[in-house]
Symmetry: C2
Subunit: 577 residues, 2 copies
C-alpha cells in the first residue's frame, strides 16, 4: 500500500507567504480566511490519505470492469466516492446560485493535487465533473443550469467529456457524430466516441456527457461543431431518473496505467441532447471545459510526482548500500543509507525542484484564474484571463513532462525494487504517463502555446508575463540570473517572431523546445521568489541553489536547438522515414 502525506504546509506557504492570495480575496470581497483554508486543506488531506490512497494499488491491480455495457469501478471506490460527494469537494468552486460553494480556484487546485496524488484512478470519476459544470455554467440556458448544476455540484451526478472519435482526435474538424433537431428543441445524437473517461460507471446516479457533434447541414470542419449536454438518464418533471438515454458503453480500454479508471467507447443511438450555447460554436464552448481540464492534468502530473518523491525519499533514507564517498555516515551499520550517495541526492533534488516548482506554478496560474473571475476591475479580469490562457498549455505540458521525469527518477532511486509492482512506484510511472497524452498531447499544447498564445498577439501577453516575473520579490544571485534568462527569452521571442513570419514550418519545428525553455525560466523565477520569501523554515534556498546550478542550464541547449530552426526537421521526405 503506497502511503501519501498531504503537502499542506507547503501549500500554505505558497498561498499565504509567497503569493498572498488572502489580499486578492479581501480585495474581491470574498469571505475566506486563513483558518478556514487550513481547516479545508486538513479535511482534504485526511480524505486523500485515509480513504483514497489506500485504494490506489488495489484499484490498479483489479482494474475497472465491463459487462454487457455495465461498467463497475474497482472494489472500494463506491464507498470512497461517497465520501468525496458528501464532503462537497466537487462543487467547492461552483456557482453559489446553483448550489456551488464559490471558493477560489486556487483552493480547488490544492484539493485537486491531493486527490490526484492520493488516487488518480478514483479521482478520474469525479474530476471532470468540475470542468463540465464550468462549461454548463458559462454557456448553457438557465433551465439546463437549474436542472443539472445542483446535482453535479453534489457529485451525485458526474460529468464526462465526449470529443474524440476513432478518426478524429487532435483534429476535431473531422468529427462525424450527428445531431438532428427535434420539434421540442432538443436534438437526437448518433455516432461513436472513444476515450471517454468516466463516460459510464456505477459511482453516480447520473452521468452528464458534454458531446461535440455536427448539426445536420452544418459547415464542414471546426466551424460546424456544436456542443450538447447528453445525460445518461433524462430527469422527468419530478426529477426522478427513470428514462435511460440512448447511449451505451461498447467496451472499456485496457491501458498502460490508470487502470482503475474506466475509459469507454460510447455509442450514441438517438441519444437526446440539449444544445449548450449556440449552434456551430461548440468548439469554443468546449474550451471552457478543456482549459480547466488541461490545468488539472498538469496538476495531476504534479500530484503524482509529489507522491513519487515521497516514496523515493523514504526509501533512500531506509535502504543501506555502500559508503558515502567522503567516508562512512553510519559507521556502526554495515553500510550507509543510499541518500548519502551524491547521485541519489542529485535525483532527489531534481525531483523536489520540479515538484515544488510545479506546485508554485499551479498556485500562480490558479491565482490569475481567480483574479480573472473575482477582480473588481474588468480590464484586470481580462488581463488575468490572458495570462491564464497563455499559461494553461505551458502548465499542462511542462508539469506533466516533468511529472514523468520525476516519477522515473523516483523509480530509479529504488533500483531493482522499483520495477516490482509491490513497491508502488512503477504504478506512479504508468499512471503519470497519461498526463502527457490526454486533454491534447503535449505536442499539441506546445503548438497552442507558441502559435495561438505567443506569436499570434506579437508576444504581447508573453511580455506581460515576463514583466510579472520581473516584478517578483527576488534576491541576488538568483534575481540577476532570472533577469538574464528573461532577457534571453525576449531576444529569442523576437527572433521567432521575425523568422516565423516567413517560415511556416518554424514554430512547429521548435514548439516543444520553446515551451520547455519558457517552463524552465518560469520555474527559475518561482524558485527565486520562494527562496526570497522563505523564513529559513523550509530552507527553500537549498533547492533554489540546486535548480540554478543544475537545472536552469538546460535552457542553453534548448535555445541552441531552437535557433537551429526547421531545416533539418523538414528536409527528409515523408517516405524516407
Amino acid at each position: 500500500m503506497t502511503m501519501y502525506t498531504p503537502p499542506i504546509e507547503d501549500m500554505q506557504f505558497l498561498l499565504f507567504d509567497v503569493f498572498d492570495v488572502e489580499r486578492d480575496w479581501q480585495r474581491a470581497g470574498l469571505d475566506i480566511d486563513r483558518m478556514m483554508v487550513t481547516g479545508l486543506l486538513d479535511e482534504c488531506g485526511k480524505l486523500a490519505t485515509n480513504v483514497m490512497a489506500p485504494l490506489s494499488q488495489s484499484s490498479d491491480k483489479e482494474g475497472a470492469h465491463w459487462d454487457q455495457g455495465t461498467v463497475t469501478a474497482p472494489t472500494g471506490f463506491s464507498g470512497a466516492f461517497a465520501e468525496i460527494q458528501s464532503g462537497g469537494w466537487i462543487g467547492m468552486c461552483g456557482n453559489p446560485d446553483f448550489g456551488g460553494q464559490g471558493m477560489p480556484r486556487v483552493l480547488g487546485t490544492c484539493v485537486d493535487e491531493m486527490f490526484w496524488a492520493a488516487n488518480s484512478n478514483l479521482w478520474l470519476y469525479g474530476s471532470l465533473t468540475s470542468g463540465a459544470t464550468y462549461c454548463i455554467d458559462a454557456h448553457a440556458t438557465e433551465e439546463l443550469k437549474e436542472t443539472y448544476l445542483p446535482s453535479m455540484y453534489e457529485g451525485r451526478w458526474t460529468g464526462a467529456m465526449a470529443l474524440t472519435e476513432p478518426h478524429a482526435g487532435t483534429d476535431l474538424g473531422l468529427l462525424r457524430t450527428k445531431a438532428k433537431k427535434q420539434l421540442d428543441g432538443s436534438y437526437k445524437l448518433n455516432g461513436t466516441k472513444i476515450f471517454i473517461t468516466s463516460g459510464e460507471h456505477d459511482l453516480a446516479d447520473n452521468i452528464i456527457h458534454l458531446v461535440l457533434a455536427r448539426v445536420e447541414g452544418a459547415p464542414a470542419g471546426t466551424r460546424g461543431i456544436s456542443l450538447f449536454l447528453v445525460p445518461k438518464f433524462l430527469p422527468d418533471d419530478d426529477s426522478s431518473l427513470t428514462i435511460r438515454n440512448g447511449f451505451r458503453s461498447a467496451s472499456i480500454e485496457h491501458k498502460m496505467g490508470i487502470r482503475g479508471s474506466a475509459t469507454s467507447v460510447i455509442n450514441y443511438e438517438d441519444a437526446v441532447g440539449y444544445l449548450v450555447g449556440s449552434e456551430n460554436s461548440g468548439l469554443r464552448h468546449m474550451f471552457t471545459m478543456m482549459n480547466f481540464a488541461r490545468l488539472s492534468v498538469g496538476v495531476q502530473g504534479l500530484g503524482l510526482s509529489a507522491k513519487a518523491y515521497q516514496l523515493a525519499s523514504t526509501y533512500t533514507k531506509e535502504r543501506v548500500q555502500g559508503r558515502a564517498p567522503s567516508g562512512p555516515k553510519q559507521p556502526d551499520d554495515s553500510a550507509d543509507a543510499i541518500i548519502e550517495h551524491p547521485d541519489v541526492r542529485r535525483m532527489l533534488l531534481t525531483q523536489r525542484a520540479f515538484v515544488e516548482g510545479g506546485r508554485a506554478l499551479s498556485v500562480l496560474v490558479s491565482s490569475y484564474l481567480d483574479k480573472s473571475i473575482f477582480a473588481t476591475d474588468e480590464s484586470e479580469q481580462q488581463q488575468n484571463f490572458r495570462l491564464v490562457e497563455l499559461l494553461t498549455p505551458l502548465a499542462k505540458a511542462f508539469m506533466s513532462d516533468r511529472g514523468l521525469e520525476v516519477a522515473s527518477l523516483a523509480q530509479q532511486c529504488f533500483g531493482g525494487a522499483g520495477y516490482i509492482q509491490e513497491t508502488g512506484i512503477e504504478q506512479v510511472v504508468r499512471d503519470v504517463r497519461i498526463t502527457q497524452i490526454y486533454e491534447g498531447t503535449n505536442g499539441i499544447q506546445a503548438l497552442d502555446f507558441i502559435g495561438r498564445k505567443v506569436l499570434m498577439d506579437g508576444a504581447q501577453t508573453l511580455r506581460d508575463f515576463i514583466q510579472e516575473l520581473l516584478s517578483f520579490d527576488m534576491s541576488d544571485p538568483f534575481k540577476e540570473k532570472v533577469s538574464c534568462a528573461l532577457s534571453d527569452l525576449v531576444e529569442l521571442t523576437d527572433w521567432l517572431l521575425e523568422h516565423a513570419a516567413t517560415n511556416p514550418d518554424l514554430s512547429g519545428s521548435v514548439s516543444v523546445e520553446f515551451l520547455d525553455y519558457c517552463g524552465y525560466i518560469t520555474y527559475a523565477a518561482l524558485w527565486a521568489r520562494m527562496a526570497a520569501t522563505d523564513d529559513s523554515r523550509f530552507q527553500k534556498s537549498l533547492i533554489a541553489n540546486f535548480y540554478f546550478d543544475k537545472i536552469l542550464p538546460r535552457t542553453g541547449s534548448l535555445r541552441q536547438s531552437i535557433m537551429a530552426g526547421s531545416e533539418s526537421v523538414m528536409k527528409p521526405e515523408s517516405d524516407w522515414f
Copy 2:
C-alpha cells in the same frame, strides 16, 4: 500483434561499409565472409520476425507462471525457444574447443539486437546463457568446461546469474550466502538470492546458476566472495540428469514489464556448487559475465527502441489529422498524415538518431571486443580490452537511457492510442524501462565510468578513445564540430581530474551528466562517420544534420551543470529530504 522488421541492411552498412570488420577478421585469420554474414543475419531476422515477435504481446498479457516452485514460461515460448536452440544461436560466439562456433562478437551483438527487439520476454530465457559460458570458459576448470559448455552452447542448458540478495544489491560486499567446502572438493551453498532472471523455468533441461557466496572463514566485504557453478540437476557419470540439486524458486516477481520473463527468488539449501576460479576472487570472475551482460542490456535498450521507432513511423504515415503548416500534402484526403507535422518529424528524427547512433556504438564496442580476443598482437588485444572496459558502462547506460527516451517519444507519436495495450507501444515502454535498472543501475554505470574507467588511470584510456574518434573518416562541417566537442571534452576531463583529487563528492555528483556528455559526443562522431561513409543510399546525412542541429546542443547544458560541481548536491542534510 506488434510486427518487427530486422534492420539487416543497416547492420551490413555498419559492419562492412562503416567499420570494415571484414579487414579485422582477415587479419585475425577468421574464415568468415560477407556472404556468410548475410545468410546468418537473414536467418536470424526470420526467426526474430516470424517466430519470436508474434509471441511478444501475448506473453506480456499472460505473464510467467509459478506453482509450488515450478515455473512455466508463457504459451508458445517452448516451441519458439526450441527454434533458438536448434538454430545454434546461443553458442554462436562460444569456444570451438567445447562446441561453440567461434563467431565474432560483433555478429553476436547484431543477433542480440534482433532477438531483444523481437521479444525481450523470450530472449531473457536464453541471453544470459552466453554470458555464463564466457565466464565458465574464462575461469572454470577443464572438467567443468567439458561437462557444462557443450550443452550450454546448444541452449539445452541455460544460464542464470545469482548475485543479488534482499539486503545486498549494488553493495555485493554485504552478501551472506554461505558456501562450505566438502570432502570431494565441491561446496554446499545456503542462502537466498533475489531478482534471478530465468533462475527457474521449463524451457531447458538444466539451468546453470553462477552464484556468488562466501566461503566459511572468508574475509568480510567484497574480498571474501567466491563464484560457484550450481546446476539445477547434477549430471551423473553417464550425463543423465536425475539428481535434483538443492535449490527452488520461492516465488516470481510481478513486474512493470518483461512480464513473460520469470524473475525468481531462489532459496539454496545445501545446494551443491563447484568453485569457478579461485576462492575469494568471485567478484572479479563474475565481471566477465557481467560485462557481457551490461553490453547486452545496452543492446536490449537499442533493440526495443528500434522496434518502437518502427511502430511510430508506420503509425505516423497512416494516421491522418490536421494539415501540414506549409499547406496540404494530401489535398484529396480529409487531412494529412501526421508525419507531415514538424513536431512529429522532430520526434521521429530524434528516435532515429538514437537508434542508428546506438547501433553504431554497439558495433564499435563489439568490434573492439573482437580485437581484444582475436588480435594477433597482445598489446593490441590489451589496448582494445581497455577500450571495451571504458565503453561498457557507457554503452549500457547511454543506450538504455536513450532507449526509454525513444520508446516514450514513439508512444507520444501515437497520441491516445499509445496508452492502450492493444497498440503494443506501451509494452515497449514498460519493457525497456528495466534496461536502466538491471545489471547495475545506470547510476552505478556512471560511477563506474567516471571513477574506475576515466579518473582512475588519469583519463589515459579516455584520451585513447578520443584519438580513435578523431581518426574517424569524417567531413566538414561535422568533422569540425566533432573536433570542437572533443577538445571541450578533454578540457572538462582535465578540470574533473584536478578537482576530484581534492573533492571526494565531485565525481558522484556529476557522474550521470558526465556519462551523458561523453555519450552525446560519441554519437556525434559516429554520425559524422556514418554520413561520410554513406553512398547516398541511406541518406545518413539527413539524420546527421538533425543530430548536430538538435541533439548535440545538449552537451552545452551538461557541461555547465557538471562545472557547477557538488556543492548544491551535498549541502542539504539527509534528514532535510
